[in-house]
């Protein structure tokens, strides 16, 4: 069950290019956490009122939770200034997480959509491959993924791997003989990439679980700040939208309207 608590940071690291890692200890939270769930991180500076939702990247054991994030604004900057031994206030685990279907899992991660796929790949059982898209050859978490299965890299500028997005890399692999037979896709990344994944799976008759991002205020399903459009009327909302924080962040790509 989710709880809000002050936890102790056990490790921090600068992964380069504005990407940071932070590990904290919270056994109760770690015990119930699942891949694809996230935690709300609160700023110590109370003038920043809203939580920063950050995906669980890895559950390294011993009640630890690992986050990997990009510094984009004041909140993540404050976070990057933390050191082991410092406290942070977190609430989690939140959201639904990725469903396991007992099928070959093809992971597609773009940018800071890459981190949540790591724990998924560790737990999913039948990892087929991870397609990881970066801006350039300044990669992160590559070695972690290589421990668990095949990795296909792409970059926006072509400085490493296939030039283009993870979809470009996936299409290239398929044309080179990579089989999507009996596979389920798991994706996390920027909006345009997820649209691409949705279109790809629809064209190929595949199932994809995609993790969406939206601006949040409560993170627990109460404020209706974070909705996405859905194809059908949602049971909770009574209208064609669902709460990313509570009904998601992971959705079957067929169920959401990304247009």
């Amino acid at each position: 069950m989710a709880l809000q608590t002050r936890v102790k940071i056990t490790k921090t690291a600068d992964l380069g290019e504005g990407i940071f890692e932070l590990v904290f200890s919270c056994p109760v939270m770690a015990e119930s956490a699942r891949p694809g769930q996230f935690v709300n991180v609160y700023c110590d500076d109370a003038s920043r009122m809203l939580p920063r939702p950050i995906s669980i990247c890895e559950l390294p054991g011993d009640g630890q939770i690992r986050l990997v994030y990009r510094v984009v604004g004041a909140g993540t900057k404050e976070l990057a200034g933390k050191h082991p031994g410092d406290g942070i206030t977190v609430l989690g685990p939140l959201g639904n997480g990725y469903p396991f279907e007992g099928k070959r899992a093809v992971l597609l991660g773009g940018g800071v959509g890459i981190p949540p796929l790591l724990e998924l790949e560790k737990q999913i059982g039948i990892p087929a491959a991870a397609f990881l898209g970066y801006r350039s050859d300044k990669t992160f978490l590559l070695d972690d993924f290589r421990k668990y299965g095949a990795v296909y890299v792409s970059s926006d500028d072509g400085s490493i791997g296939v030039k283009g997005t993870v979809i470009t890399a996936l299409e290239r692999a398929v044309s080179d003989g990579f089989s999507l037979e009996g596979a389920v896709l798991y994706a996390c990344g920027p909006g345009p990439m997820l649209k691409g994944v949705k279109a790809f799976t629809e064209n190929n008759g595949l199932t994809a679980y995609i993790s969406l991002e939206e601006r949040m205020a409560c993170g627990i399903g109460a404020c209706l700040g974070c909705v996405c459009k859905t194809m059908e009327v949602n049971g909770h909302s009574g209208v064609k939208n669902a709460r990313v924080c509570k009904d998601g962040p992971v959705f079957d790509a067929r169920e959401v309207d990304l247009s």
Binding site: C223, L224, G238
Partner: protein, 303 residues
């Protein structure tokens, strides 16, 4: 420890303590009940509900601002049928009063919603007149005294429960609005709703909210809210539910001293899901520490 009385009464309804939550920041209590013991709140105020389901605005719907936030949820709600079937029975399991916030696109919609609530087991109605009036080109009902007075009268006539009118702060004279709804027969008023604001992202050169404008809430608006509660309290005799930026017991006490009978905790719930209960506990501690026997002695005590 001295015995203190934290009970207050709004239009004949007794709240065990003067703390409720601000509509829209707490859903119908279900999600927050994992973090807060709802039995410890004077009342739960629910998210605005209309006769039919409303889909709300496109996203982004929320944006952070210094010590506050902007929201343009667009009053998304599942409609009164679902609300009555699902949310009222859930809340009734707790020992707390239920305040139902009502919204509408037309005067008739407000009245219809109030009527549908007549047989419901709820304690108070809070009518949000900051909704856009579709027939009048989206101007909110709550900015024209005559319109506010008329809606109040019509809701009052249709309602079985006491009617609290929730006022918009986006007016020249809050005292005038308060008098208008009192003349319309309101049993109480609540204020303030959010202040209209705007935020622009200079990096992307776009509006932070898809709706362009949104309602500002949180500690940033607290002094404005205290001033308006004070002015309203001096203009009318009916009780006031004060809100706007309350995050601590001290903020709440300020509002009560300015003239509020009870208070709502809103945006603060987003930073601390247990903020409402902490405020209630803090008020009790204050009464004990200052040897104040009854919270009612503080209402409007600073003149």
């Amino acid at each position: 420890m001295s015995q203190v009385n934290t009970e207050v009464s709004i239009a004949g309804v007794t709240l065990k303590n003067p703390v409720t939550v601000a509509s829209g920041t707490f859903g119908s209590g279900q999600e927050f009940s994992a973090f807060v013991d709802l039995n410890r709140l004077g009342a739960v105020t629910t998210k605005g509900v209309a006769v039919e389901p409303w889909a709300g605005n496109p996203t982004p719907r929320v944006a952070e601002t210094p010590s506050g936030m902007l929201n343009a949820i667009g009053l998304q709600n599942p409609g009164i049928d679902t609300f009555l079937k699902r949310d009222v029975p859930f809340l009734r399991k707790f020992d707390t009063k239920i305040i139902v916030n009502v919204c509408g696109h037309s005067e008739d919609e407000y009245v219809e919603c109030v009527r549908r609530l007549a047989d419901a087991d709820v304690d108070l109605l809070e009518i949000n007149i900051s909704c856009p009036n579709v027939k009048a080109g989206g101007i909110t009902f709550g900015t024209v005294p005559e319109v506010a007075q008329r809606i109040t009268r019509r809701c009052r006539e249709a309602a079985r429960q006491p009617v609290i009118m929730k006022l918009s702060p986006n007016v020249t004279s809050i005292a005038e609005m308060a008098k208008a709804v009192e003349a319309g027969g309101a049993d109480g008023i609540s204020l303030i709703n959010t202040l209209t604001g705007m935020k622009i992202n200079v990096r992307t050169r776009t509006f932070a909210l898809a709706n362009k404008t949104g309602g500002l809430s949180g500690p940033a608006i607290h002094p404005v809210a205290v001033r308006m509660v004070y002015e309203a309290a001096h203009a009318v005799k009916i009780p006031i539910i004060g809100m706007g930026g309350i995050a601590t017991a001290e903020d709440a006490l300020e509002m009560i001293l300015a003239g509020a009978t009870c208070v709502s905790v809103g945006t603060a719930n987003f930073r601390d899901p247990a903020a409402s209960v902490r405020v209630a506990d803090g008020i009790r501690e204050y009464l004990e520490q200052t040897h104040t026997a009854d919270i009612k002695d503080l209402i409007g005590a600073v003149k």
